[in-house]
């Protein structure tokens, strides 16, 4: 019994578990919008594009999250601008812009070593998270949760039917920017837990899992958030025993849940589809 409670004896483990659960939940909530809007690639891009911001923030003496957030938003605006003013397809634009930002980030980090080393940024290290960084994560999570809690219906309509949102006189440009800002902010928060490489999993997988399990957006939000929190907490907890990467544990766990949903989902799962086909064959 004491064996199972062992991780809680260490303050750094408790912190890691709490932070992972919190970030897992916030990212998962947002992931519902990201997957439905078709912005999964964008999430991947932004999480890499924030890297130069971390380095510049260090050089300027700002909190790293501020720099990362600004870099993320700049990258998103840059992608929008290139897309509207060239004939390139969106995936090509995303590819070009985010790799440029990421490369710039690598260069800056190698030229001007900061308190966050490259490994931490790319792979995350929630076990060594400092108290000021925990505070940043809490502030970002709280702000994102408040904004999402108040505006999720508008964002849902924007993702579903932008034309109708405009018909109703909503400011869709603002909603677009809001979603990008939330995406950048949560990508920054998640950077420390799972690292730039795996942030996109936190921002896509829970939403994809929930989408397989329900046809109602409200339920999708709840399922995704629960999945995100549970995987965050248990992933961090399990990493103590496995003695492996926390980010890796969390994302592998999310993937396992996704696979279970993919196969066993009551209506949209692979098994359900097969059963339905069989029933249809018998009935006819």
């Amino acid at each position: 019994m004491t064996g199972l409670l062992a991780p809680f004896a260490y303050e750094y483990m408790v912190k890691a578990i709490v932070v992972s659960g919190l970030i897992g939940g916030v990212c998962a909530f947002l992931s519902c919008f990201i997957t439905l809007k078709g912005w999964s690639l964008m999430g991947d891009a932004l999480s890499h594009a924030v890297v130069p911001g971390v380095s510049l923030a260090w050089l300027l003496g700002l909190p790293f999250s501020v720099g990362a957030f600004v870099a993320g938003v700049l990258a998103a605006l840059g992608m929008g601008w290139v897309k509207n003013n060239s004939r390139l397809r969106e995936d090509a634009v995303i590819g070009v812009v985010f790799t440029s930002f990421f490369a710039l980030g690598l260069l800056l980090l190698s030229l001007y070593p900061s308190n966050l080393n490259l490994r931490t940024i790319i792979f995350g290290n929630v076990l060594a998270i400092s108290d000021p960084d925990i505070l940043q994560v809490f502030v970002i999570s709280a702000l994102s949760t408040i904004v999402l809690g108040m505006k999720w219906r508008d964002l849902l309509l924007y993702c579903f039917d932008e034309g109708h949102a405009r018909t109703l006189g909503m400011n869709t440009r603002f909603l677009h920017f809001l979603l990008l800002a939330l995406l950048s902010a949560t990508a920054v928060a998640a950077l420390q837990t799972v690292g730039a490489c795996l942030v996109v999993a936190m921002l896509v997988t829970p939403g994809a899992t929930a989408y397989l399990l329900t046809d109602r957006f409200g339920k999708m939000l709840i399922i995704a958030t629960i999945t995100g929190v549970v995987c965050g907490v248990s992933g961090a907890y399990a990493s103590y025993f496995l003695n492996g990467s926390t980010g890796g544990c969390i994302v592998v766990l999310q993937t396992l849940v996704f696979l279970v949903a993919l196969v066993f989902a009551p209506k949209h799962g692979l098994l359900a589809a097969r059963t339905q086909r069989r029933v249809a064959a018998i009935a006819s």
Binding site: L36, R153, R166, L168, R216
Partner: protein, 302 residues
């Protein structure tokens, strides 16, 4: 609230619309609609009907000219919930996890508070609008699990729930069964009688004289605009549709004198199906069917 609103009108003034790729989809389009009318927007595929709707809604910015709605700019009209727009079905993501009820409720967002929490009034209106289009029995259904006609009706309910006085419908009759079509037409008539402006695009010619008061005939510009009787002439339609209209010319067909006035013409706006006397099938062309013509002549004499 609506009593104080200005009377609805749509004023399209010399609008030219170009897409980013340089394609000029509409050139010098002008027409004006006043309260209490159903106006058909008729033209072939690619003639710019959807483009015109999007410019009226302000989604596309005209390169030249402008649109005013009830004397206001399009943006101001949108903020006042004056215009409802039912998009073409292809433009909707049918796999989205929203139910029929959710969609009807979206029509009410403009009337709700900052957080869009529905009040009793919003629920009542959404319910009433779903009943009006006969979809209140499907509230919990995910929108992708509906037939083509049901999908159209749900989006119509959303437009109704918005309570705008101007309604734009892009191809509401494509992929819709005959009952739904006449149900929608009845609904539009009621709205017209209540003083709304309905602008509805279609390439189904047959139904237009049945329920439309006015017609805008388009092919990348306005070819004709006015009351249906004046616009729906053979010359105008020939110039709008060129060679793409299907024809059934009685002289060239297998119909003969003995069929008289018993000829029955069935159509779903595709090629018509024609039955002569005693319900025998008639063909568009006599050529290659000489045997049949002779046989019928013999029967008629006997």
């Amino acid at each position: 609230m609506h009593d104080t609103a200005p009377p609805p009108s749509i004023d399209v003034d010399d609008v030219t619309v170009a897409y980013n790729n340089g394609h000029i989809a509409l050139r010098d389009v002008s027409f004006k609609l006043d309260a209490g009318t159903i106006c058909a927007l008729v033209g072939i595929n690619g003639s710019g009907k959807s483009t015109l709707f999007k410019s009226i809604m302000g989604f596309l910015r005209p390169a030249k000219g402008g649109v005013r709605i009830a004397g206001l700019t399009v943006e101001a009209a949108r903020r006042r919930q004056l215009v409802a727009y039912v998009p073409q079905s292809e433009e909707v993501d049918w796999t989205f996890p929203v139910s029929v009820w959710d969609v009807a409720m979206m029509g009410r967002y403009g009337h709700m508070n900052f957080m869009r929490i529905p009040r009793a009034e919003d629920k009542r209106v959404a319910q009433e609008c779903l009943e009006r289009v006969g979809m209140s029995g499907f509230k919990e259904r995910q929108i992708g699990e509906l037939s083509g006609g049901q999908k159209k009706r749900v989006f119509l309910a959303r437009a109704l729930a918005q309570r705008g006085r101007i309604m734009l419908l892009d191809e509401p009759f494509t992929g819709v069964d005959v009952q739904t079509e006449s149900a929608i037409i009845d609904l539009l008539r009621d709205l017209r009688d209540a003083g709304h402006i309905i602008l509805v695009s279609t390439h189904n010619l047959g139904s237009v004289p049945e329920f439309c008061d006015q017609v805008v005939l388009v092919n990348r510009t306005v070819l004709a605009f006015g009351p249906t009787e004046q616009v729906f002439t053979e010359d105008n339609l020939a110039s709008a549709f060129g060679g793409v209209l299907r024809q059934f010319q009685f002289e060239q067909s297998t119909i003969q004198d003995h069929d008289g006035r018993t000829v029955k013409l069935l159509t779903d706006d595709e090629r018509p199906l024609v039955f002569g006397k005693d319900g025998h099938l008639e063909y568009t062309d006599r050529q290659g069917r000489e045997q049949l013509v002779k046989k019928r002549e013999k029967e008629a004499r006997a």
